[in-house]
Amino acid sequence: MTDTGMLRFHVPEPEVRPGGAPDFSNVPIPRAGSVPRPEIDVDPREIRDLAFSIIRVLNRAGEAVGPWAGLLSDEELLEGLRHMMTLRAFDARMQMAQRQGKTSFYMQHLGEEAVSCAFRKALAPGDMNFPTYRQAGLLIAGGYPMVTMMNQIYSNEADPLKGRQLPIMYSSKEHGFFSISGNLATQYIQAVGWAMASAISGDNRIAVGWIGDGSTAESDFHAALVFASTYKAPVVLNVVNNQWAISTFQGIARGGSGTFAARGLGFGIPALRVDGNDYLAVHAVAKWAIERARRNLGPTLIEHVTYRAGAHSTSDDPSAYRPKAESDAWPLGDPVIRLKNHLIRLGVWSEERHAQAEAEILDTVIAAQKQAEEHGTLHSGNKPSTRDMFEGVYEQMPPHLRRQRQQAGV
């Protein structure tokens, strides 16, 4: 009756598992400077190939090359390096604080610092990010006080969120940082809604959505793309592809599509892939997409190709599902080292100054930590009150909650 044979079930697998030798030979890395920079009002149909390449600026020799280079001054680059180093030092201290029992949970950015730090510098005041849990660079590079971030992580008496939210789920309207919910992908479509509101209101502010490779599988990701496409919303939609969703490699979310950026094409949304470990490239691509949005040219999808060098969170141990040395083999290198080498090449930086800056930054982070710990940590010192727990469920506390608060004796 049929000669098609038996059906077989297909489950994608990563190239290598623990015990094997890391292998990224399947990840094509185009030469830095080789991808053209289209005009801002380009017809999306003409740049479909950008969804399958990788825009890179810094080459192996530490030079900034090609049409996406040349946007940042030496001072801006030095500031960018400082932001990334600060985020890295901040992460290291907070990771340690979690291990010391000063908080319940932490998530670090190791290897992904360029993505949020560089993107932040391309935004204008008033723009709104809808971040995930791995974009604290938006706050660090945006001048948000580290002490306040730590107060939130410690859930102490000075925590602006009153101890209600998990560590690192920051919120600051003033700094263009929407409250992180902790659920996945839910906020991608909210970014589009915020952008639609800005357009409805004749404003000039734009919104930025953030999502990880794994979470693009959620239905809300697709909801965001169709709304953004239909209403030409002034939004930049970022996919941070760090290769791993806890233990699940990116192929499970990507499926048969070549790249995550390619998801935008079916919606008619221009889609770019960028070297997420290249501060200059991330910044240049962000600038391009943000300008498109602000000029009423509609949404852009950006896939940041990077690698999660650390664990997913303090509850995760990656050695159970990927080779230990995999991050060393990642072909796009380390964002801090790459920018450092570029600045040395420019003659405005040196190994000595780098080591000195590292020490200064660590001192600053430790000083902030001391200040935060004076307000308490999760299990010691001053805490948000039990009363705070009942506040803020509604603007006006309904009678049943008032009764419950009385029962609780607070």
Binding site: F9, V11, E13, R17, S104, F105, S155, D159, K162, G163, R164, Q165, L166, P167, M169, S181, G182, N183, L184, A185, G214, S215, A217, E218, S219, D220, A245, I246, S247, T248, I252, A253, G255, S315, D316, A320, Y321, L378, K383, P384, T386, D388, M389, F390, V393, H400, L401, Q404, A408, V410
Partner: protein, 337 residues
């Protein structure tokens, strides 16, 4: 018979079911190679292959929807949602599809699926890793809802759920995974290896859906509890010296009303406890049933102890969690009423 943690018992239930019935398929986020973030499916992919146990994309609607499609084909999927707090994207598939498939097709299609998920607080998981949303499922006609409180029951109930012809929502109180937590969070937890209910029979057995268990016999007051709150109630009874009869409901739907009525008719008093928020919680259903069925036996108003009606907070976890002090106070007040 070996002593097992609740994680091992749940894994054993899936292992036994997969070994007996090749229609049983297990999948979910991080479930395949890694074996789940709580390790409940560790080793199943290696043993049964990638077609029987595999990683799913992060899409709870997809996980439940695919399971429904597989069930329609004739398989028996047992899927994991990583935390109960993440089930909501799959809620439409559960409520509008899984729960009604048998009814609307008049049995032409059925939906023998199990949706497992860790629930409850006590791990400083904040509002996205602590919720107890069981009442959102008991309110839906066509679903069965199970909440085990120990390894022995967890294995038998999960096998029964997998073999059940209808969709079952299977909550795993995560604070019980490694031991019977009684709410005294500053004390070390007894591991299951030191608890008699950590003894898990080998091989196949079931604990029937719809049968409660009496965890402590008593004559003063009936406590209706499930999951973690069973141990909190035990601690409260011990600390107040009140001779409480503690009923572990084990399944909320179908509910063992006979066991409830028999106990409350005997004691004349009833305290209902759960960790989930109070308003419209499952405790409201229990209190109503007791009132309808035992009114003339009651010597005191039925008391409820539940989570406060706020989102689950992070820092104030132990102010929120209805621990032994609050349950004990309700026992005393019910005795004095």
């Amino acid at each position: 018979m070996a002593r097992k943690t609740m994680i091992e018992a749940i894994r054993d239930a899936m292992d036994v079911s997969m070994g007996r019935d090749e229609r049983v398929i297990v999948f979910g986020e991080d479930v395949g190679f890694f074996g789940g973030v709580f390790r409940c499916t560790a080793g199943l992919q290696a043993k049964y292959g990638k077609s029987r146990c595999f990683d799913a994309p992060i899409n709870e609607s997809g996980i439940v929807g695919a399971a429904i499609g597989m069930a329609a084909y004739g398989l028996r999927p047992c899927v994991e949602v990583q935390f109960a707090d993440y089930v909501y994207p799959g809620y439409d598939q559960i409520v509008s599809e899984a729960a009604r498939l048998r009814y609307r097709s008049n049995g032409d299609f059925t939906c023998p699926i199990v949706v497992r998920m860790p629930s409850g607080g006590g791990i400083f998981g904040g509002q996205t890793h602590s919720q107890s949303p069981e009442a959102l499922f008991t309110h839906v006609s066509g679903l069965k809802v199970v909440v085990p409180s120990n390894p022995r029951d967890a294995k038998g109930l999960l096998i029964a759920a997998i073999e059940d012809p209808d969709p079952v929502i299977f909550f795993e109180p995560k604070r019980l995974y490694n031991g019977p937590f009684d709410g005294h969070h500053k004390r070390p937890v007894t591991p299951w290896s030191k608890h008699e209910l950590g003894e898990v029979p080998d091989g196949h057995y079931t604990v029937p859906l719809g049968k409660a268990a009496i965890r402590r016999e008593g004559s003063d007051v009936t406590v209706l509890a499930y999951g973690t709150m069973v141990y909190v109630a035990e601690a409260a009874a011990a600390e107040t010296g009140i001779d409480a009869e503690i009923i572990d409901l084990r399944t909320l739907l179908p509910l063992d009303l006979d066991a409830i009525v028999a106990s409350v008719s005997k004691t004349g008093r009833c305290v209902v406890v759960h960790e989930a928020t109070q308003t419209s919680g499952f405790g409201a259903e229990l209190a109503t049933l007791v009132q309808e069925n035992c009114f003339y036996h009651l010597e005191a108003p039925i008391a409820r102890v539940a989570g406060w009606d706020t989102p689950y907070p992070h820092a104030q976890e132990w102010d929120y969690f209805p621990g032994p002090a609050r349950v004990g106070r309700a026992l005393v007040e019910t005795m004095e009423a």
